[in-house]
């Protein structure tokens, strides 16, 4: 048998998908920081998290990542993508870039992705549930209803989120996310 006919096949990179997910993670991270200042519900959710809370949401095995946590003053802050020197209290790992693309192109909501075994969470379950709720609210602020419906478990009714809160929040989150 000529072994050279069957060479090794190293894995290639998926640059475009990685770049897309990295941009989405950056936007979501910044928007979480902005929403924590603008929206009372998000603020409330974050206030229940511990003082040294630090979330890492990343794509395994070597994909993009984002850090969001509380700083020394207790303010929620997007802390970039570099894990060096950071001690995470909640690690949410998306199993692969394809799974991340499914989530960030809103083909699968966070809840469906979890049930389809696409996420690995290390840390407190309470914290993870709070983060999923925050992500849902952030997505409602960032995206139009037609897309958000695909991304969240339940789109809030008017009685749950008034149009005033939604539209004012949306404008403020966009301004804060891309400027401050």
């Amino acid at each position: 048998m000529n072994i050279d006919r069957y060479p090794e096949i190293p894995p290639k990179d998926k640059f475009i998908k990685k770049a897309y997910v990295a941009i989405m993670l950056w936007i979501v991270g910044r928007a979480m920081q902005a929403a924590s200042r603008v929206d009372p519900v998000v603020k409330e959710e974050f206030s229940h998290l511990r003082d040294n809370f630090l979330l890492r949401l990343w794509v395994a095995p070597n994909g993009p990542s984002m850090f969001v946590g509380k700083d020394k003053n207790g303010k929620v802050k997007y802390m970039g993508w570099n894990p060096r020197g950071k001690k995470t209290t909640l690690d949410m790992q998306i199993k692969g870039i394809e799974q991340a693309v499914l989530m960030f192109t809103f083909q699968e909501s966070t809840a469906v992705a979890t049930s389809n075994d696409r996420l690995i969470v290390s840390g407190d379950l309470d914290d993870a549930c709070a983060i999923v709720r925050i992500l849902d609210i952030v997505e409602i602020f960032l995206l139009p209803k037609i897309i958000t419906k695909l991304a969240v478990k339940r789109y809030p009714k008017w009685s749950q989120m008034s149009p005033l809160r939604k539209y004012v929040g949306r404008v403020l989150v966009y301004i804060r996310a891309f400027t401050v």
Binding site: M1, I3, K12, D13, P61, G96, Q99
Partner: protein
């Protein structure tokens, strides 16, 4: 359902089914401390572009494919010369795991390579039941829908010899809807008949094993509800995925009991005549159930439950459940039209070989079925389904 006094059930594989299931392979390999698999596939799998999809699914992971060997003939038996070449390839490339894409002899060959690279000595020394004494290398099976129906079980056929061991279960079964593609109606019917036989014979026995029943009932139900749809429309994604799931479950269920009369006879006839196993088992299955009823042997009512679900099961009076399930099964086989033969005469099986088939079947089933029963069933099957 009654709790038996005692029962044993073993299932090794983790089943990963649905959208993007293949992207989980690198996680599964990492969890078994492996990152360089030898990948086996048939030429047909490559021609249909499935190996490309598989390779792409491993992009952006830490897994290096040690080698991709795609020259296995899917519907031939696994031969020892090819196996030895693959063992050499496995060792030369420093692989630490095996992935089989496809079905039939591809999986048999992968299991054979796994036995050879994990154990010392001649592979034929491990033929038989429970002769393998230690855990094998990680083995992942990626279904393409084209299969023999028992790839997920604990058995393999190499050079026409049967290897049975719990270590031969795949560690992970991947049922990804990109890989499970349309196939010929004939192949779908044949593979389904093997799986249906395996599932029915593992749950229609007089004693029950609740865990086994769960797997078998779901397999029977998936096949009953989806096979005719797939035969009419071979491209049906949902139907093909449901059938692939059924094959996976039937294989696991079947591994927990000795083979029944239809499975053993089907294998014996197929081995001798070279005909597909599914063809032999398809029409033997309803005949064997009728034969058992004639002998006043009981068939558990749960078979009807598996076929019709809760509502259908409750609608039929208790005394009629056995006869109804046999009628439904017979009708089901008839609905497959000309895809399956209707008698051994039509298959041109030699009648003088019946005794040999009966002897082999009895041996394979570990004497669970007698030669006399086999002979009676073969005699009935000669004329076949009216």
């Amino acid at each position: 359902m009654q709790l038996p006094e005692s029962y044993v059930f073993f299932s090794q594989p983790k089943i990963n089914s649905g959208k993007n299931a293949m992207e989980h392979i690198y996680v599964e390999l990492a969890s078994m401390d492996a990152r360089k698999p030898l990948v086996l596939a048939s030429r047909q799998v490559t021609e249909r572009g499935l190996t490309k999809k598989f390779i792409k699914s491993l992009y952006d992971s830490n897994v290096v494919i040690g080698s991709l060997y795609d020259e296995v003939y899917p519907y031939h038996y696994a031969c020892i010369s090819q196996l030895n070449d693959l063992v050499e390839l496995f060792k030369a490339r420093g692989c630490d795991s095996i992935i089989a894409i496809g079905g039939g002899s591809v999986v048999d060959l992968a299991k054979g390579v796994n036995i050879a690279v994990s154990n010392s000595g001649n592979i034929m020394d491990y033929a038989g039941t429970n002769t393998i004494q230690k855990r094998l290398k990680p083995f992942i099976y990626v279904s393409t829908g084209h299969c023999g129906g028992t790839e997920t079980s604990n058995e393999a056929y190499i050079e026409n010899r049967r290897f049975v061991s719990d270590f031969l279960f795949p560690d992970v079964i991947i049922l990804d809807n990109r890989m499970i593609t349309a196939r010929t109606r004939q192949r779908a019917a044949e593979a389904s008949m093997v799986a249906l036989t395996a599932a029915i014979e593992s749950c229609a026995v007089p004693y029950n094993n609740p865990m086994n029943d769960l797997y078998a009932n779901v397999a029977i139900n998936f096949i009953y509800e989806n096979l005719l749809g797939v035969v009419k429309k071979p491209g049906s994604k949902t139907g093909n995925l449901a059938l692939a799931n059924a094959y996976a479950m039937a294989g696991i269920s079947f591994s927990n009991i000795p083979p029944g009369i239809v499975y053993s006879l089907g294998i014996a006839i197929a081995r001798d005549t070279g005909l597909p196993r599914g063809q032999c088992m398809g029409f033997l299955l309803p005949l064997s159930l009728e034969h058992r009823v004639m002998k006043n042997e009981s068939i558990r009512g749960e078979l009807l439950y598996a076929l019709l679900g809760t509502e259908g099961y409750c609608r039929v009076p208790e005394k009629e459940r056995t006869s109804t399930s046999i009628t439904i099964l017979r009708q089901f086989v008839n609905d497959l039209g000309g895809l399956l033969p209707k008698s051994l005469k039509e298959m041109r099986v030699n009648k003088y070989k019946f005794e040999e088939y009966a002897r082999q079947a009895s041996e394979m089933s570990m004497k669970r079925v007698t030669q006399k029963d086999c002979m009676q069933l073969l005699d009935i099957a000669w004329e076949g389904i009216a």
